[in-house]
């Protein structure tokens, strides 16, 4: 029987992965929409983007709140440490998310042509992953100092650390890579050849920085947190699988026929790497302050949360399947006929 705290963190990690994928599509789309506008190619992809993203943007946002509330629920100590340390970066992320969230409604119904808005949409798409990745950096330890009852983020250490910058870089380029790969797939479903060609160029372009940034972050991690690095080396086969899926994905994109499969293998690439990273982190949630066992909530609460999880998933999974059926796999809708 697997312990409830382990089950909790596993499911939460799965949700974070889900957020990583859906949010990347969203964030990247913002950047591409802005970039296409600057290069006067916006007519090619804007309809594609709004067609898919409009029905799902709210769902994307809930994924994030879900993970956040879940981790605080399962591990209340995270609220204390991360909450205290992240007051400023967390608030910045909230503000960026607010600008972006309001963009959808306002842009869709109000000021379609407003370049300032489009710029904000594009900019937040890159800044949000950067600001959220700070939490990931913190979890490696060494960036938080405790003075009595005061928990402080060491900004100087954070800003001068090559690890934190390499994680930021990785977050941004992965977003662009995942997003362009997805939009390729969506364009191919819509039989939209010009958009497909454009997105394919973007996807192939961003694949290189993604793999470089991943290796760079890995190397800096080895210097910063030896234990985590060694654990990940122990999971070398997961990392190898990740690289394998990456190469498969690139080949499929290059081959230019099976975009659905290409996107799936890119999803699997990130899945393997993300879980290798997460499992390697064990047993710490925040090195060295919070471990999974000691930081967990009471057993009765953990149990109730797991039950709620299962009940909630029974509700969510069919609903999500319905959404995908209606907006992603309904060929007529994708082509804009409905």
């Amino acid at each position: 029987m697997i312990s409830y705290e382990l089950l909790g963190i596993a499911v939460l990690w799965l949700f974070l992965y889900g957020y990583l994928i859906v949010a990347s599509v969203d964030f990247g789309a913002g950047f591409f929409a802005y970039y296409a506008r600057l290069t006067k190619r916006d007519h090619m992809i804007n309809r594609l983007i709004s067609r898919y993203l409009s029905p799902v943007w709210e769902i994307t946002n809930v994924f994030f709140v879900f993970f956040f509330v879940g981790i605080v629920g399962f591990f209340p100590k995270t609220a204390y440490y991360y909450g205290s340390a992240l007051l400023i970066p967390g608030s910045i992320a909230v503000i960026l998310l607010a600008i972006r969230g309001s963009f959808y409604a306002f842009e869709n119904y109000g000021s379609k042509e407003n370049i300032v808005y489009l710029f904000l949409y594009g900019a937040t798409g890159l800044l949000i992953p950067a600001s959220l990745s700070v939490a990931l950096t913190l979890s490696e330890g060494g960036f938080i100092a405790e003075f009595g009852t005061l928990v402080r983020l060491q900004y100087m250490t954070l800003f001068t650390s090559p690890l934190s910058w390499s994680i930021v870089a990785l977050a941004i380029v992965s977003v662009l890579f995942i997003s362009s790969a997805f939009l390729c797939f969506y364009a191919s479903r819509a039989d939209d050849q010009p958009a497909l060609n454009l997105m394919r160029t973007y996807a192939l372009f961003w694949s290189t920085p993604t793999i470089i940034a991943a290796f760079t972050a890995f190397i800096y991690l080895s210097q910063h947190n030896e234990r985590h690095f060694q654990n990940m080396m122990g999971l070398w086969w997961l990392l190898a699988l990740s690289v394998g899926f990456f190469m498969l994905g690139i080949w499929l994109l290059y081959d230019g026929r099976r975009y659905g499969l290409a996107f799936i293998s890119i999803m699997l690439q990130f899945f393997c790497a993300f879980f290798a990273y997460g499992i390697g982190h064990y047993p710490y949630i925040l090195d060295p302050y919070i471990t999974i066992q000691e930081g967990a909530t009471h057993e009765s609460m953990g149990f109730a949360l797991v039950i709620a999880f299962i009940g909630g998933l029974c509700l969510l999974v069919p609903s999500l399947i319905l959404v995908f059926k209606l907006f992603l796999f309904d060929a007529d809708y994708v082509k804009g006929k409905k």
């Binding site: 946002n61 609220a79 607010a98 609460m301 109730a304 209606l326 409905k338």
Partner: protein
């Protein structure tokens, strides 16, 4: 701990919630109205009501966007600004917080589907059924989040051991004694306010552009909802008052400036306190407080003096309470007046004065919601978790809260203004009548296509 930081933490949270409550109320109330209108439209085969549902949904989505972002803000701020509170209470209230997100998730999914499937189903009821998960999801998230607030007022479902919660029973904590009355009052007043908002818009349009069948129907429909939920909300308020008298007497005593315990206590309306803390200029209704609290004109009501000085809520809550109740009765009166005037004149002319009254009911209803929340929250002071955790122990120690307050203030001003501008633009250049013509044209096109086969 630095009291300045505590004050700014309170202000920041108060600011976010004050702003969020407006959109959260719309988020709970309006889907119900959309469902009612679409049902009326399908049932009566009246395109006016279908159009109503469509137009309201379009406006609703914009307010949802602001509701989502401010809701995300408060979810994060709970941990960012009150880390000690979340560390302690998280053990007990994680379940409802978590389920609230589930409910919201559910609502978000189906709102997306509802929005983008208007003409996709053959049976019109299929699309209407999609409003169920939206209405239920919105109601459930209000329910769960209100249980968290109920817990902070009436903590239960745990044992205190060395400053930590132990032997936690999450379900018992969620279904605390404050939950039923709070949930009833929150839901009924949200539906009331949602209907008042849409009725106010219809009344205002009639005042500006003259009568039209579309707006008259909207007004009639929404005013009847206002009447129903107005009465319901007043009843729920009564349940809440009885709950307070029994379980949180200091809150009721502070609201009524009831200092000494006595039987047959008077109810005070308005007035002020002089330098000796004696009540001046208030309207006294003899023994009404006892009746309000216990349903017995001679029941004993606990006075504030029974509580230690540092555990008494601020006395200003009296005005919040009076204004909230006053507005509630005013709105019910207007709804009754409207019902009477429709009944007497068989639904024809509405007087200008009555329409203006209905228009004023909209901001007043929102004001009452805010005042009610202020009363509930300020009346709990100085506690964060009543009896267990004081506010100053729960706040963050970080000195950066003050600048953040102003940053968020600016953000909310910008969001609020943009929201208003977009909503205005959305409806001003697209009057209901013009849209109705297009709508009818489309319907006859479709009918024309079907008939030859």
């Amino acid at each position: 701990m630095d009291t300045d930081t505590v004050l700014w933490s309170r202000l920041l949270t108060g600011l976010t919630l004050t702003f969020h409550v407006i959109f959260a109320t719309v988020g709970v109330g309006v889907p119900m109205m959309i469902a009612i209108a679409e049902f009326a439209g399908i049932r009566k085969k009246d395109p006016h009501y279908i159009l109503m549902a469509k137009r309201w949904t379009r406006g609703f989505v914009i307010s949802v966007a602001v509701g989502v972002v401010t809701g995300t803000a408060i979810a994060l701020q709970l941990a960012l600004v009150w880390p000690n509170f979340m560390q302690l209470a998280g053990n007990v209230i994680a379940l409802p917080l978590f389920m609230e997100v589930f409910a919201f998730f559910f609502e978000a999914i189906f709102l997306g589907i509802y929005l983008y499937t208007w003409e996709r189903f053959r049976n019109p009821y299929t699309h209407w059924v999609l409003t169920f998960p939206v209405v239920i999801g919105a109601g459930m998230s209000a329910f769960f989040i209100t249980t968290v607030n109920g817990f902070m007022n009436q903590p239960g479902g745990f044992v205190m051991e060395n400053g930590q919660f132990a032997a936690v029973n999450p379900v018992e904590a969620m279904l605390n004694t404050a939950t039923p009355s709070k949930v009833l009052h929150v839901l009924s007043s949200a539906y009331l306010t949602g209907a008042a908002l849409l009725a106010g818009i219809a009344a205002y349009t009639i005042l500006k552009n003259g009568e039209s069948p579309y707006y008259k129907k909207a007004l009639n429909l929404m005013m009847s909802v206002v009447l129903v939920f107005g009465v319901f909300s007043a009843l729920a308020g009564d349940v809440s008052a009885k709950f307070l008298a029994k379980h949180q007497p200091e809150k009721l005593a502070a609201a009524e400036w009831h200092f000494e315990t006595e039987s047959g206590a008077d109810l005070l309306l308005l007035g002020w306190l002089n330098a000796e803390r004696k009540v001046v200029g208030a309207i006294r209704i003899p023994k009404a407080l006892s009746f309000l609290g216990f349903g017995d004109w001679n029941a004993e009501v606990k006075g504030l003096e029974e509580f230690p000085m540092d555990e008494r809520p601020p006395l200003a809550v009296h005005y919040l309470f009076d204004l909230m109740v006053g507005i509630g009765f005013f709105v019910i009166a207007v709804a009754l007046l409207y019902a009477l005037s429709v009944w007497r004149s068989k639904g024809n002319a509405h007087s200008k004065r009555l329409l203006w009254l209905i228009v004023f009911c909209t901001p007043l209803s929102f004001l009452a919601i805010e005042l009610g929340w202020f009363y509930a929250e300020i009346g709990r002071q100085p506690w964060m978790i009543r009896g267990y955790l004081r506010v100053e122990e729960a706040a963050t120690a970080s000195p950066n809260v003050r600048p953040l307050f102003f940053v968020f203030l600016l953000l909310y001003i910008v969001l609020g203004t943009l929201c208003a501008i977009v909503l205005r633009r959305l409806f001003r250049h697209n009057p209901a009548e013009a849209e109705l013509e297009r709508h009818l044209g489309k319907l006859s096109d479709q009918a024309g296509k079907v008939e030859p086969t």
